[in-house]
């Protein structure tokens, strides 16, 4: 019977961390927008790498160095296939989305933006796709503009063409909001931005592990992702960018690996992608990421998206039944697509207390501003509680969350 209720039950068992009790209750891990758990396959790949193949990459001729290099380099084509990128894209490994956006701000951003130019963001952005641009704006004298959101956190695009005509050189926007679960129409925005002569960066932190992505169709200039949001290890991610653009960009950090020739007073930069990967890379992380891609592909991103969307709809509906609770973000029934993230508040219970009490019931939620301070201020909310899902979560867990919430509410009513 359980099998019928939860088509992903077999996969769930691959995640050892899910199989534990917290405060005497079975763990319900609903903090997947922060980071996902890791399957056995990823954990094994990392420990096998250290057990058998560990060596520094690229420089060595010896057997282990060759193996490590092959394992590391082999993940680049895997990523291009996973994200359905055409042959004109290349992969730069970074520590994750934050480092990827900083890399882009400091290279193509600095190269393209001068005083008076505009960098267009949205009001939904995570601090990691906001602060690097503020820093660049301060450095160059460029200005920031924002595509506004309505009260449900849906982008208002009616003024977009006029916004794009104001000297926009770069557009950087999130694919899916980490707080509200809004899925932005990135393809449409990219098309308009390209018509206006602007380059587009898509922050894929919340889409990379949840939606089938076709960069061929989406057609961004850069797509940035984090491994740990897609069942892979922390500290690895990357920028998938148009090779011709990457080749035109100045180097970023200096050091080994990114050079082809060095003299006392000058250097020659290496080719793309090595040009952007100074120093010994996170080989273990890249190997783990490769295993995560294989794992996700074995399930199928279409299936994952379909299941998570059903689960989110079920959770949204159940939460609306709790009186007094306010849900933020688009109603799944009113939008074509919805990210697997639900944010809500209770009028008399502070988010921080709610999250503490839910933890006492074994439910891992997150409370706070979710690295989204300007958006929260705009919505007029001090802090929300966020429940975010992955394919290994179940409707049973959703029901348990709802009954735990009811207990918290009645405790506060006493």
């Amino acid at each position: 019977m359980l099998q019928a209720q939860h088509p992903m039950i077999g996969y769930r068992n691959d995640f050892p961390a899910l199989n534990q009790r917290v405060a005497g209750h079975p763990l319900i891990y609903f903090d997947n927008a922060a980071t996902t758990q890791k399957p056995e396959q990823v954990i094994e790949a990392i420990s096998d790498y250290y057990r058998y193949d560990n060596a520094n990459v690229h420089r060595g001729v010896h057997e282990l160095s060759q193996r490590a290099t092959q394992a590391y380099e082999g993940v680049r084509p895997k990523l291009l296939t996973f994200f359905d990128a055409g042959s004109d894209y290349s992969v730069i490994f970074t520590r994750g989305v934050t480092e990827g956006i900083n890399l882009l701000a400091q290279t193509i951003g600095k190269q393209r933006c001068v005083e008076g130019d505009t960098i267009l963001l949205t009001e939904l952005e995570h601090h990691s796709n906001l602060v690097p641009w503020q820093m660049l704006a301060k450095e160059t004298g460029a200005r920031l503009d924002f595509i506004p959101v309505d009260e449900n956190g849906v982008l208002l695009l009616d003024q977009l063409e006029s916004q794009l005509s104001q000297g926009v050189k770069l557009v950087s926007l999130t694919h899916i909001s980490n707080t509200l679960g809004t899925v932005n129409p990135v393809q449409e925005i990219i098309e308009l931005a390209h018509k206006a002569g602007a380059l587009v960066i898509v922050d894929g932190a919340q889409s990379c592990g949840h939606s089938p992505i076709s960069l061929k169709e989406m057609n961004p200039d850069f797509y940035v992702f984090s491994g740990h949001k897609m069942m892979g290890p922390m500290g690895v991610g990357g920028v998938i960018g148009r090779t011709s653009l990457l080749e035109s960009m100045p180097p970023w950090q200096g050091g080994g690996e990114m050079i082809s020739r060095v003299e006392y007073h000058d250097f020659q930069a290496n080719e793309v992608p090595q040009q952007f990967e100074a120093g010994t890379p996170n080989v273990e992380g890249v190997v783990g990421l490769g295993a995560a891609l294989d794992y996700l592909e074995s399930i199928g991103m279409d299936r994952i998206q379909e299941y998570e969307s059903e689960l989110t709809g079920y959770g949204y509906e159940a939460l609306t039944q709790l009186s007094g609770l306010t849900l933020y973000g688009p109603n799944p029934d009113e939008v074509e697509e919805r990210g697997a993230t639900l944010s809500f508040t209770m009028p008399t219970i502070h988010a921080h207390d709610l999250v503490s009490m839910m933890d006492m019931k074994g439910v891992a939620l997150r409370g706070g501003h979710h690295c989204n301070q300007p958006l929260m201020r705009k919505l007029g909310v001090p802090a929300t509680v966020r429940a975010s899902f992955a394919f290994y979560n179940t409707k049973d867990e959703m029901d348990s969350m709802i009954s735990a919430l009811k207990e918290v509410i009645s405790f506060f009513r006493r």
Binding site: H350, H352, S356, M357, G367, H369, P382, A383, E407
Partner: protein, 145 residues
């Protein structure tokens, strides 16, 4: 279960905070916040002619732990001399943050209840926010003179 942290006295202070508002003709008004969770608090104090804390009030947009701790703090601090209030505050903060359990002399009555927050390290900052504001306000008030 919930009571491990949310004891009755805490819930009482959280839902009916004492000394809420802003004092008239304050000697110090300080703002404190915890950017991690969004707790915000404004504390105002007025000293009497004898130098003791004559009036103390706070306004907050904060969780129950922060609210209750700040409310109890105002009750305990009112009428104390600056020195006494400083000693009380540092003893309270030590009670929650010291590696070893402390044997606080001045932390008595209701205040002792907050010792349970020690077992919830992620919530210690909530419980100490009002007290840090008290320390800041005492420094601020002595600058004025």
């Amino acid at each position: 279960m919930f009571e491990d942290l949310y004891q009755e006295i805490i819930m009482d202070h959280a839902s009916r905070p004492r000394n809420k508002g802003r004092v008239e003709t304050p000697d110090a008004v300080v703002h404190a916040d915890n950017p991690l969770c969004g707790d915000e608090l404004t504390l105002s104090i007025r000293k009497g002619e004898d130098g003791a804390i004559e009036d103390i009030k706070f306004e907050a947009n904060a969780c129950a732990i922060c609210m209750a701790s700040a409310s109890m703090m105002t009750v305990k601090a009112k009428g104390r001399t600056v020195e006494e209030a400083k000693e009380l505050s540092s003893e309270f903060v030590r009670m929650l943050t010291a590696d070893e359990e402390t044997q606080p002399e001045r932390i008595t009555g209701e205040l002792k209840v907050l010792e349970s927050v020690r077992r919830f390290p992620m919530r210690v900052k909530c419980a100490t926010l009002g007290w840090h504001a008290l320390e800041d306000s005492l420094i601020e008030a002595s600058k004025e003179q």
